[in-house]
C-alpha cells in the first residue's frame, strides 16, 4: 500500500514523514524518529509500556496507527525534561527509587504526568487507578505510588 504523509509534532518538534498506513504510532516513534525511550512490552495493549501523551491524553502507542495521530501533538518520555531540567515527576521518581530495570518507567512517567496535569492532588486510590494498566514487574508499585503522592503533595514544586 502507498505511503501516506504524516504531520506530527513530537516533543515540540514538527515532523513530516511518509509512512505505510499500517504503521503503528510506536513504530514511527521508535524506528523513524529514534525516540526509543518509549518501550513495547506486549504490542497488544496490555502493559502500557508504550504510553505517550496525544494532545495531552494518554494513549497506548502500540494500539493506534501512526496516521491516526496525524496533526496531533505527542509527548514521549524524552519530552518530559526541558533543557536538561527534570520534571517534578521525574525528580520524585529518582528520590523514591520508583524504577528498577527501567523498562516500564517511560510509560509510568507518562501516566503519572497525565494524572497530575488533570488532577493536581489525587488520592492514593486515584493514583493506583491511574497506573492500573501499567505493568511493572520490578518495583511492586508502592515506590511509584509514593513518588506520585509526593508530587501531589507539592513536594516538587518548580523552584521559581
Amino acid at each position: 500500500m502507498e505511503k501516506q504523509l504524516l504531520r506530527i509534532t513530537v516533543n515540540n518538534e514538527y515532523h513530516e514523514l511518509y509512512v505505510k498506513p499500517k504503521r503503528l504510532l510506536v513504530e514511527v516513534l521508535r524506528d523513524e524518529l529514534e525516540l526509543t525511550g518509549t518501550k513495547r512490552g506486549c504490542n497488544t495493549g496490555a502493559c502500557c509500556a508504550c504510553t505517550v501523551l496525544l494532545n495531552g491524553v494518554t494513549v497506548k502507542s502500540c494500539s493506534i496507527l501512526a496516521m491516526q495521530a496525524d496533526g496531533t501533538e505527542v509527548t514521549t518520555v524524552e519530552g518530559l525534561a526541558e533543557g536538561g531540567k527534570l520534571s517534578p515527576i521525574q525528580r520524585s521518581f529518582l528520590d523514591h527509587g520508583a524504577y528498577q530495570c527501567g523498562f516500564c518507567t517511560s510509560g509510568m512517567l507518562i501516566s503519572a504526568t497525565a494524572l497530575i496535569n488533570e488532577k493536581p492532588s489525587p488520592t492514593k486510590k486515584q493514583i493506583k487507578e491511574a497506573i492500573h494498566g501499567n505493568i511493572c514487574r520490578c518495583t511492586g508499585y508502592n515506590s511509584i505510588i509514593r513518588a506520585i503522592k509526593a508530587v501531589a503533595e507539592g513536594k516538587y514544586k518548580e523552584e521559581e
Binding site: 512490552g41 521525574q90 529518582l94 527501567g102 493514583i127 518495583t139 511492586g140 508499585y141 505510588i145
Partner: protein, 759 residues
Amino acid sequence: MMKKYSVINTPIHNIDGIAKITGRAEYAFDIKLPHMLYGKILRSPYPHAKILKINTKKAEGLTGVKAVVTGKDTLGIKQGIWRRFKELCDEEILARSKVRYIGEPVAAVAAVDEDTAEEALDLIEVEYESLPGVFGPLEAIKQGAPQLHEHAERNINVTRHIEWGDVDEGFKKADHVREDWFRCSSQHHVCMETHNAVASFTPDKKLTVWTSTQSHYYIQVLLSWVLGLRENDVRVISRYTGGGFGSKFELDSAQFCSSLLSMKLFKPVKIILTREEEFMATKRRTPMFYYLRTGVKKDGTFLAKEGRVFTEGGAYTSMGATALYLTGFFQAFPYVWPSYRYDGYRVYTNTAPTSAMRGFGAPQATFCAETQIDLIANDLGIDPIKIRRKNAMYPGYEVPGQATIQSCGLSQCLDKIEKWIKSQGKLPPNRGIGIAAYGFMSGGIFNWFDTPYAFSSAVIQVKIDGKVDLYIGSQDMGQGSNTTMTMICAEELGVQVEDIRLHMGDTESCPVDLGAWGSRETLMQGNAVKMAAAKAKQQIIEYAAAKLSPNIVYDLDIKDRWVHLIARPERGLSYYDVVKEAIRGKDGQPIIARGHYTPHRKGMISPAYSFGVQAVDAEVDPDTGKITLKNCVTAHDCGQVINPLGVKGQLEGAMAMAAGYGFTEDLPMDEGKILNPNLVDYKVLRATEMPETKVIEVETYEPEGPFGAKEAGEGLTNPTAGALGNAVFHATGLSIKNLPITPEKVLEALKEKKKEEKK
C-alpha cells in the same frame, strides 16, 4: 569521631537513574545498526515429534528475505549451562531431528523487516511425525511412558539425595507425625523487556552481540562453544537489562539464531521475541509435586523430616538441576532439623523447559514447609510464632555436611513480627494473618559452569583528577548492583559516589563475573570490588605516609576524600592532591588495582544466608472466594544494608512477584500448550492489588560479606505464598496445598468443608 560509613547505609539514587527516567538508557531492545536485518523464529506446533524434512525454498524466494537457517546450519552441539556434566548438556536450540515442546525453534529467517520475516515463516515447510507426548512428572516417570531423550530412562533427568541424622529414629521418637502432598505451580518471569539480541558478525570472524542478559560472560562462553568461535572473538554487550529474575542467563533462541543468521550474511540481525513467544518458549519456574512427612515432639520440637519431590523438568535440563538441589536444601530452612532426608527427581516432560526463577526452588520449598508447620502447630495447639522460635536456626549453627550459618537474625525477626501481629488486635471475621519464615543464599558455590576464572573480579584505575574507573563483570538487570558496587568502591577507597565512573556490561572491557543470579552480586562482586579498592587505597596511602606519619606505627586511612591519620583524623591531606602526587611519583602511571573473589571452604551451598519472617494480612470473601491482601510486613536480616533505597525496592518488588505466585499467576496447559500466553490472561499483580508494605530491617554483621552485607533481593520471593496460604487458613480454617490459591479453589474447599461439617 568520624562517622562509621560516609557512603554506605545512605539512600542513594540509582546511578543509572537519570538515564532511565529520561528515556536515554539504551537496551539491546533499542539497538539499531546500519544495514540491520530483522529475524523471526519458526517454532514447533507439536509437543513431541520427529522432524522428517524441512523445505526452505519458498521462504528463501520471498522478496526481502535474506537467509533461512535450520538445524542443518548449526554444528549440532548439544549445549547446556551445566557444562561440567556432559549428560546435562541436552539442548540444541535449533532442533535437528526431534522437537520436544511446543515452541521449540526449528528454523529462523532474516529479512529486511519483521513483517517480511514473519511472512516467510509461513512459507517454510516442515514435515513432522507426531509422537505421543507426556506432560506431568508423575506420568513421565512411569515405566512405559513416552521417552524424550535416548539417554534418560523413565525420563529421569537428575536426581538428588540429601540426608543427615537418623531419620527413622526421629520418627520413632516423634509424638506427632504429619504427611502432606503439595502441588507448586509454574510461574513466568514476565520481564518487561522480552528476550532479544542484535548480532553482528564481521569478515574478520568476530561476533558482537548486544543482548538482554543477566550474565554476559555465560552468553559469551556458550555462544562461542556452539558457534565454534574462539571465546574472545565473541563480544557480548548488555549495558541495560529490562528485568531478568532468572530468565536471562542461559543461551536463548534470540541470541543463537541472530548470531547464526549474521554469520551467514555478514550483516547485523536483530531478533526480538514477542510476548507470546516469551510465554510459550522461554524458561519458567519449575512446577513441583512435594510429599512431606514430618515428626515432632508434643511441645513442637522438630525431630525428623522426609521430603520427596518430583519436578516437571520440561524438555531440557537448563538450570532446573540447580532448582532441584536448592529446593531440597531450603526445605529444611531456616530451622534446626536433627534429622532430614530428601530425594528429588527432575523428570523430562514435553513442556517448555523449567529453570531458574527468583528464589530458585526455595519458594516452592518454603510454601510447603511453612504451610505444614502451621498445620502441625494447629494440630498441637501451639502458636505459629512459638513453634518457629523453638526450632529457629541461630548464629554458628551447622547444617550437617552442608553449610555453616554465621550471621542470623531470625529470632529478632520473629520478635518484630510477633509485636506487629499483637499491635493489630482482633481481626474482623474472614480476615487472617499468616506468617512464614525464610532464608536464602548469597551466591552459589558449586562450579557447575566449570569456569576457570575467579567467581568475581574487579579492576580499578585512579586517574589524575581523582576520578576512579571501576570495571566490574556483574550485571545490573534492575536490582541495582551498579549502584551497590559503586557505593562499596567509594566507601572502601574513601571517596564519594560521584568520584566513580562505572564500566560494566561488556565482555571486551570488563573482568569476568558469573553474573546476576542466586543473589551473588552483593557478596561476591562486592568482595572483589572491596579488595580492588583496598589495594588502590593502599597505593595512595603510601604516598601520603611520608608527609603525614613521622611515626611508623601511625596508621592512615581515607574517608570522604580526606587522607588522614586514624588516631588524629584532623591531620590529613586532600585525596585529590595525594592522587596527583602519587601518579607523578609512579612515573606517570595511573593507580591500578585488581580484586577477586571465589568462595573456598565455605560449605556446599553458599558463603552466607539471609533470614526473615513475613506476615501477610488477607481477607477472604466467603461468597466469591476472592482474596484481598491488606498488609504485608516483613522483618528481614540482610546483614549490613548498603543502599536502603535499593533494599526497600527489592523487598517490595519480590513481595509483589511472590504474591502473584501465591494467588494469581499460573500457566495452565493443555497437552503441553500454554493456554494464557499473554498479559491479559496471565495475571501479574497490578498497582490496585498491592497491599500496604512495611519493611523492618534487622541488622546483623555477616563476616563473609563486604562491610557485613549479604543477600537482599531474592529470598523475599520465598515466604509470601506460604504466608498468604496461612492467612487464608487462619481466616477460614482451609488449608490449600495447591498453588496458586485461586478463588475457585477457595470456594471448592469451602464447599467441601461445609459438607464435612454436615456429616
